[in-house]
Symmetry: C2
Subunit: 607 residues, 2 copies
Amino acid sequence: MREFPFYNTRITGGFWKEKQDLVRNTTIYAVYDRFKDAGRFRAYDFNWEEGMPDQPHFFWDSDTAKMIESIACLTKLKKNAKLEKLADDIIKKICSHQDENGYFNVYYMTVDKDPSHRFATRDRHELYCLGHLIEAAIAYDDATGKDALLQFCFRFLDYVEQRFMIEKNAGFQTPGHEEIELALVRLYDYTGNKKYLKMASHFVDERGKREEGLTDWSHESYNQSHLPVRMQKTAEGHAVRAMYLYSAMADLALRTGDEELLEACKALYDNILTRRSYITGSIGQSSCGEAFTVDYDLPNMASYSETCAAIGLMMFSKRMMLFSADRKYADMIERLMYNGFISGLSLSGKAFFYENPLEIMPYFYKRNVSNTFKEHAPATVRKEYFGCSCCPPNITRVIPSIASYLYTEEDGVLYVHQFMKSVSTLEIGGKSVKITQKTAYPENGKVQITVKGSDLKLAVRVPGWCREYTGETAENGYAYMDVKDGETVTVNFPMKVHFIAANPRVLHDAGKVAVMRGPFVYCMEAVDNGEGIRNLKLNMRSRMKVVKNEELGVNVLVAKGFRPAYTGDALYREYTGEMTEQDIVLVPYYTFANRGESEMQVFTDHT
Amino acid sequence: MREFPFYNTRITGGFWKEKQDLVRNTTIYAVYDRFKDAGRFRAYDFNWEEGMPDQPHFFWDSDTAKMIESIACLTKLKKNAKLEKLADDIIKKICSHQDENGYFNVYYMTVDKDPSHRFATRDRHELYCLGHLIEAAIAYDDATGKDALLQFCFRFLDYVEQRFMIEKNAGFQTPGHEEIELALVRLYDYTGNKKYLKMASHFVDERGKREEGLTDWSHESYNQSHLPVRMQKTAEGHAVRAMYLYSAMADLALRTGDEELLEACKALYDNILTRRSYITGSIGQSSCGEAFTVDYDLPNMASYSETCAAIGLMMFSKRMMLFSADRKYADMIERLMYNGFISGLSLSGKAFFYENPLEIMPYFYKRNVSNTFKEHAPATVRKEYFGCSCCPPNITRVIPSIASYLYTEEDGVLYVHQFMKSVSTLEIGGKSVKITQKTAYPENGKVQITVKGSDLKLAVRVPGWCREYTGETAENGYAYMDVKDGETVTVNFPMKVHFIAANPRVLHDAGKVAVMRGPFVYCMEAVDNGEGIRNLKLNMRSRMKVVKNEELGVNVLVAKGFRPAYTGDALYREYTGEMTEQDIVLVPYYTFANRGESEMQVFTDHT
């Protein structure tokens, strides 16, 4: 299957138009300003000295790169001289400080300046940073025609090839944090230079071979080095790293026809889909290593569910989609788009979640008894800045480019994976075809698709959440329809409220249900329902009302439910069964924690 | 109120007779042998050298001391030359290596031998070890008339007085791990020497004063040093340390009439009782610091609930009971006796729990992704030995002396707090009174009490769990009755099954119930009910059957219930409400994990 670049599509209204405007007008500056405050850009003056504040970190270049890539995406959609100037200034500084041998890393050139320390420690993110710089360079060159950063990357990559593939004198064989692999494939696609495909293959193929020389195998799973990649069948370790690796594996399989690699990707994907992902699509079950744990272990409160991991799974899903049209991939992308990914951004556009738990009970977070003994607990309110601030600039590059998830094409069949009010101009079968989607999706399931410029076979995904679609659906979950040039077809996905149960093997959700309407997962917050929401029982027989919430600016659900009556101060007492009725308000999951700290839960008790 | 020593009572049958026989015939040797294997006694040859295995630890003396105290208790009930010989040998070695200045600690005399390191580090348990040695010395002298260890303690305490109260040149003012305070009161009671009462007061009064010179106040709560003790109103920090301190505070308040100290004890006790204890009576809500956390935070799986903390709360409860006859104290003791304390010992008598969680889901324990990043999880099966093996020898001293919780006396009124088949000879009002309990308690609630030797007013506790007692009960929960010399009174506490709900503020138990019958809390295990017990729903309308379980040798409950039907492999799917009926077996909580690793839960879903 063939994909289309995001800039072939103009989103003309609705949910994603609002988010794109928010990023363009607010979020990109919020990220830039916080980075500036934290010394991220000042660092590129290369005058940091011991004792000064804001010591550059070895992962800072990756944040800067994602910032530049975000500006490139926004600029590609709509020229913006102000943003371009910000990026130009940073790029100029970066390029001016590149070592003559091609190397660059702000930490290893301003803090630890001993050249022998470069590429000496596996987990120091130098190649991860380079990966993001490559992605930024491509995007920026494509958007502005300015190739300084791209030339910088060519020189850096020559040096990397020298150290890792020719002289083989680096302190490790493959990076501790993957990313460069998929960036190299992207660079191969952009330049046509096979050397970069070869380098990507090298870093993927070497991973997990005994030559790594490490013996602590259980720890190696942290960065997916516990086995050669073709032998990996379960998603292990740090979730973001895993997603970037698996994405690169799929990239390579697609370009080389490597069946073994594809089989590994399929096994890994299904393991995530059927065993190790939340109902919001998010992944990373434990804060210990920001990592996958074991099948069906999906704690709601202690979940890690990093925003970057959600993005990574969107990326991996899209790549898998290119092998075969099975709606499970686009379903997962949609699940993430409207839940586990977008929850990472506040409604104001200025604050972020690194972790996106499925439950917040604030008092739990106060239970740590001392500074010496700490348990990890996710933040309860979105923050403007993180010390490890990978997620904000990842959000700002994904939202402008979200349309890349819309369509793919195979043998003249246009697959419509996602729905948003939009106009796209796509090259199909040698013709320029204009596809217009008229819809209020995801608020309403009616989608009108107009084709202009050619007759076309459409394959429209019938979302997995929709059990009321009345048209014909192929086994792969797509509705195939022939459309004449100029014709409009209408599909309708009724958005009824659904109660979702987790597989009983997920003990964390035993006896509970989640509520979905359309692609949205809902949650309840104490701010609407009073403290102690874990005690609430949703009345499954009551009719839910869809009500506009003015404060949040979104539709919420109002249901009937019960709260147990309990009088007195006793810690334990005879169960009486007495309950009082109360309305229960459910808000879209992604809008949680926008009204201060509050209890929140996705899975809930019921009667 | 006046208490009676345990050896005034002979337990003649039933639950505690069996446990005492088990300790005498099995457990005491199991503990001794494991300690011996681990080099605990060999250490007293004082020939450990660098590089040798089994390096003595600074807390080893406390384990040894509790072992000796256990032998003393067993010996006091029934002479046992074999056990006495074991204790004599260890005592001889210990005494022979006492420093000429009186100091003793096997770690600081065989591993770190620099005398300047003695009493230099607050958290090195030297005074905690001495506390247990004092208790052992008293018990052993009382049981055997051999006073070598007592003389050793007198010499050691002179040195302690010198360092801490006269020269004040120790590296800290009060011990990091409390215990010596209550041991000193006990020594004062045993010897009548007021110096020891003064020393106890000193260590209690100095705690938490600014003079400690520490600034990390949040950490100081770990060992109850965050405030002067009279200002402490909530139970904080390491649960065992807290119990030993609070017990000493109550001891002092009782002996000195210090009202302020008593008020602090009352506040601390009520905080535990109404906010910070499990339905099993166990305490210590977090493995982070083995500590109390915040009100109503009572996680079932991550609970710490150390066996020693349960013992500590029995000790604190008993002391509080001496101030006023309120059944809440004896209720708590009973709750612990039959649940959170006795669960620490396997039915075989050979294996132990350090932690006594209220839920075990074995797969949860396999979720740690790497050696580098670990979460703490309690053991799922009882172990024969722990590196930190404080609990086993604590169990072996409590069971032989359990009868000390039976009676107290005030103004000629004999309070009957606990029920067990037994014969006691008590000195009341100058007369020797023989009290006989004929009962199958805790299996059956009928208790016949015969008084011989005097007319007597009895105050019999009506257990808080019993809502079906038909006699008159005073406000404090005791039934007062006049008994003539030679007369037998019968009380009956019907043992119906009760469903218990936790206060809704305990979010961990929201929507769930626990099952109790008599003093026993019940739990379900997967070994009886199939995997995935969190999914089971107890049918609250079904009649429970009491059935003898031959494998466990105890009565279990059989109820009706439901399990949700879920076919297919999907991780999430539409909730259908389909359920299949199944029998649910509930076993007494204390018998859990006696049939291998299995899921277990106390609080359960229901319909």
